[in-house]
């Protein structure tokens, strides 16, 4: 799709897990790949992106979606993937390969500035885990592996991928894949919804300034929010925000999510040649942070973040402009 002057942008809305709370001290639910937040008792899942081989025709938000799904495979969670453009099987085949490392200690970061850091919900990892250093660092809980690393230049082994229980929905299929989402074993369900709001879903949100049924998408997100709140699941939704002209609708989509992140790629925009941004591929805007079961959430030092895609890794850093302004204070 041709990108407008602003450059290709994708927004990600992440609905968080429901507010599962421990009933008694002894009944700690133990689901692989999750851990309770000490801050508010909420169950957390790792996003898969830990601090994103670039497919040139892809968008960065699709890459983060693949991280999210890959993490689900590695943690043994159930997956549900819905897509209107690319077949879900194709997206699954592109999942990045996890870096298997026997020495878990190598991955543990040091020098956390705040003692409460390990308890940050994983979705906030994307936002500001940089702390006072330029690179994103992740702290792992000592006993439970929470969060993994991936090599984007390789795809996940089919055996590993096929071991995961994955349900999919492809808009262009005549009969959607019927799947029962109930399981005897308590597990987390990760939902990935790709490019919601695009024309391919049959919605006119992207086509018009005043779409006739603009509330169809927002009603869907509202009901999805309800489903997430009443189940052990988490959803990552990507929205082609550069196609949605109506800013009020974008605002509503953001408020219906718990976490909202906007990726602004420099491709095709004037920022591509701006020397301030020469080391980056785009900016990452944190539009909204979750405040679930608590009055305030961890607040980052700055919201000026930029990302770059290296051969094997997707990195997020404080952008140079943030570093410059900090040095003048």
């Amino acid at each position: 799709m041709a990108a407008p002057v602003r450059g290709m942008a994708g927004s990600i809305s992440i609905g968080n897990t429901t507010s599962f709370q421990k009933k008694t001290r002894s009944k700690l639910v133990s689901i692989p790949g999750t851990r309770p937040s000490v801050q508010n008792g909420q169950l957390l899942v790792s996003s898969g992106y830990n601090s994103l081989e670039e497919d040139r025709y892809d968008s960065y938000s699709r890459m983060l979606l693949k991280y999210f799904l890959a993490e689900g495979v590695v943690c043994g969670h159930e997956l549900f993937l819905a897509s209107a453009r690319d077949h879900p099987d194709q997206i699954m085949q592109e999942l990045p390969s996890p870096i298997v490392d026997d020495v878990a200690g190598m991955k543990i970061s040091e020098g956390q500035s705040q003692p409460s850091d390990p308890e940050n919900p994983d979705t906030m990892k994307i936002a500001w885990r940089y702390q006072n250093q330029p690179k994103v660092q992740i702290a792992l809980a000592s006993s439970v592996r929470f969060g993994h690393y991936y090599d984007v230049s390789k795809t996940m082994e089919p055996e590993l991928r096929q071991a995961a229980k994955c349900h999919s929905f492809y808009q262009l299929q005549e009969t959607p894949c019927q799947a029962t989402l109930q399981s005897k074993v308590r597990n987390v369900l990760r939902l990935g919804l790709h490019s919601l709001g695009s024309v391919l879903w049959g919605d006119d949100v992207c086509c018009k300034d005043n779409p006739a049924h603009c509330h169809a998408l927002t009603t869907f997100l509202y009901i999805l929010r309800g489903l997430l709140r009443t189940s052990l699941s988490v959803a990552m939704v990507t929205v082609p925000s550069h196609l949605i002209q109506n800013r009020a609708v974008m605002g509503r989509i953001i408020r219906l999510s718990d976490t909202a992140i906007a990726l602004e790629s420099f491709k095709g925009s004037e920022k591509e040649t701006n020397p301030l941004y020469k080391d980056y591929h785009g900016l990452l805007h944190v539009r909204q942070l979750p405040r679930l079961n608590c009055l305030s959430c961890e607040v980052p030092d700055t919201k000026d973040l930029a990302f770059k895609l290296k051969r094997k890794q997707f990195t997020i850093e404080r952008s140079r402009s943030a570093q410059w302004s900090a040095s003048f204070c």
């Binding site: 009603t219 997100l221 509202y222 009020a248 607040v299």
Partner: protein, 270 residues
Amino acid sequence: MFPELNSILNSTPDSFKSSDFILVSDRRADASFLIHHHLSFYLRAGCKVCFLGLVQSFSHYSAVSQRLGVSLAQAREKGQLVFFEGLKNSIGVILQEDTSQETQPLSYLRTPGAGLEGLFRFVERSVRQSGDGYAGESWGPPVLLIDDLSVLLSLGVSVGAILDFTLYCQAAVCSELQGNVVILVRCEEEDADDDEEGSNLLQRGLVHQCNLALHVEGLPTGYCRDIHGQMEVWWRQGEETIYNQRKIFHFKVHDKGASFFARGTSSAVL
């Protein structure tokens, strides 16, 4: 509840204005902490509270209220609190085509064009319930709290229908029963494209209805870690004031409350 906010608004659980219609709004910020304040405030005051929780689960409010020293579960059990869980009940309506009496408040989900009469009837029933609670306790004046009203726009309900609903609520709760109403509305940016039928229009309509408005925004100078935003308090002229009053405060939200200070007096600055 937040003690500093009580002194700004000159009210305490033992002494507060009745028949008050309070509008809480935000733009590019999150004013829901003020809803938590009012919820714990009125429960402590012994009022009968009807809470329409349209965007978060009961356990979310319960967890926060616990930190503010109030137990929602107990209040609900005693009959002091009627809690409407919008998210949870919506699933029943949409997925199971449940048309029973209990889902009447959510009739707007299936037919958004039909208005909010079902929801109003629910509110009316809840606030008019007799005060026979736990061990024959009777509660103070009723209070209606809504978090958040603007989500109804996302569900296809028109601004006009929502304003009708709030007028009916004001008539029933404030005028007739001398109770209070506190409503949260989340607004778009001022120049958002389509706001002929949007949250800004809704907010403007409610500003005319209310006698106290608390509006929360981010700092005009940009994001700051130590000051989370500014809150504008607007009092409509009444018996005590001969003219409208307006004051702006900065605030910071903590784990167990919020602090408010005059502009430029944050500890980060001084």
